[in-house]
């Protein structure tokens, strides 16, 4: 049970984060160690400590800023922030949640669509073959992201080095995987 139940804005993003992934935004005292160590902080529109600060305000305009940010998609989940955070705030788990929220509220930053496309293509691949079919993934991603020429240089060499299959390996019990996807993604409604 959260100790802040009494005073936190119920419809704030910070409240939702606390409820779903048990990350307490007010714990952050803005030392910035996460931003200092984050490998992609320079590329982010909102470095992690700034995301924390925006959440602390519990203002819907700031929550919106976070959900529409590029940062949440640039986060690599490398866990450097968590491993060095003096308050042990689980920023990576929070980022997972923010990404899911950003998608369900249709607030994904347009510039980040291809990152989402890649993740979706990845899951597609597993959904239909049970394992990652790398060639299929690349083709599917290109179709979704319209980045038709990217990695064209890579594929031939991968094939010649024996690193790319042409035919996906199928699981014997594919219905099982289908069922798992049905129960999580389809019924969970976050597709």
């Amino acid at each position: 049970m959260s100790h802040s139940e009494h005073s936190i804005e119920r419809d704030s993003l910070a409240y939702a984060i606390e409820k779903h992934v048990e990350v307490h935004a007010q714990k952050c005292y803005q030392c910035g160690k996460c931003s200092a160590g984050c490998p992609v902080a320079e590329e982010m529109d909102l470095p992690p400590s700034l995301v924390m600060r925006l959440l602390q305000t519990e203002k819907s305009s700031n929550d919106d800023k976070v959900l529409r940010s590029e940062s949440i998609w640039l986060c690599l989940t490398c866990e450097m922030c968590l491993s060095r955070c003096p308050m042990e705030i689980d920023i990576p788990s929070m980022m997972d949640y923010l990404r899911q929220r950003s998608r369900s509220e249709k607030k994904v930053n347009p510039k980040m669509k291809n990152i989402v496309s890649f993740h979706k293509a990845f899951l597609h691949s597993i959904q239909y073959t049970g394992r990652l079919f790398e060639l299929g993934l690349i083709l599917d991603y290109k179709r979704q992201s319209l980045k038709l020429t990217q990695d064209m240089m890579l594929a031939p060499k991968m094939i010649s080095n024996g690193k790319l299959h042409f035919i996906p390996e199928l699981l014997k019990d594919m219905p099982h995987i289908t069922k798992i996807f049905k129960k999580t993604i389809v019924e969970g409604g976050s597709k």
Binding site: C78, H119, L132, I185
Partner: protein
Amino acid sequence: MKIGVYPGCSLTGSARDYNESVFALAKAFDIELVQVPDWNCCGATAAHNLNRELSLSLPARILATAEKNGLDEILVPCAACYSRLIVTQHELKKNPELKNRINEIIGMDYRGTTKLINVIEWIDASIIPNLEGKITKPFDYKVACYYGCLMVRPNKVLNYDRAEDPQTMDIVMEKIGAHALYFPFKTECCGAGLSVSRTDTVSKLSGKIIEDAVHRGADTLIVACPMCHSNLDMRRPDINKYWKSDFKLPVMYVTQAIGLAIGLTPKEVGLQRHFVKVNIS
């Protein structure tokens, strides 16, 4: 000696070299690796980015299958898969209700009894103690051991080596005759999660790692993760383009280095599959 193994998707595709070296090493040390039957993908970054339950269900199916087939211990050479599997074990142990929910999704009885070991743990336990007399060509090179993110973080869950300046891989390399360099980029991220979708970012991050290793005079980078390997090796043209340089530093799997040291041929450990030529034999 018999032990379970979960190769994961990469090892059957873009990281076949890693797979070959793991199996070659196992064979050389009389270890039978038994694959988890009909294993599926662990879901990797994509799953936990998009759907939490899916990100736990996929690994849970693998683990439940292992349990059903009596595999008490499984080696997971891919650091990314290892991380997903062990995080799943941790989450489900912590929360029995979630465990019930996941069991319902996968329709199996996952109990969480399988012991997961990463490749370094495996080498430590099964290879190093039997190394005596086996080394025919000491690996006399200056190496920069690159652990990446997933071998050491989250430290509290993995409980393996220390989060800052880990040492286990360095010690293994020293055992086969290498000189492990001081290397501060050991646990910096290579950018794996954005490998395909943000090539520029990856080139920048991976480039930093290579640049520092080169600067410190390394003959090769040593890795234990196919994600790291593909970024540092396959993405080399992008990296060189981004950095306006021509880094030729090879990137080897720890298993390949040990393989060479005990006299396996470069081909037996899959070195010919690398993008960046390995001038080490």
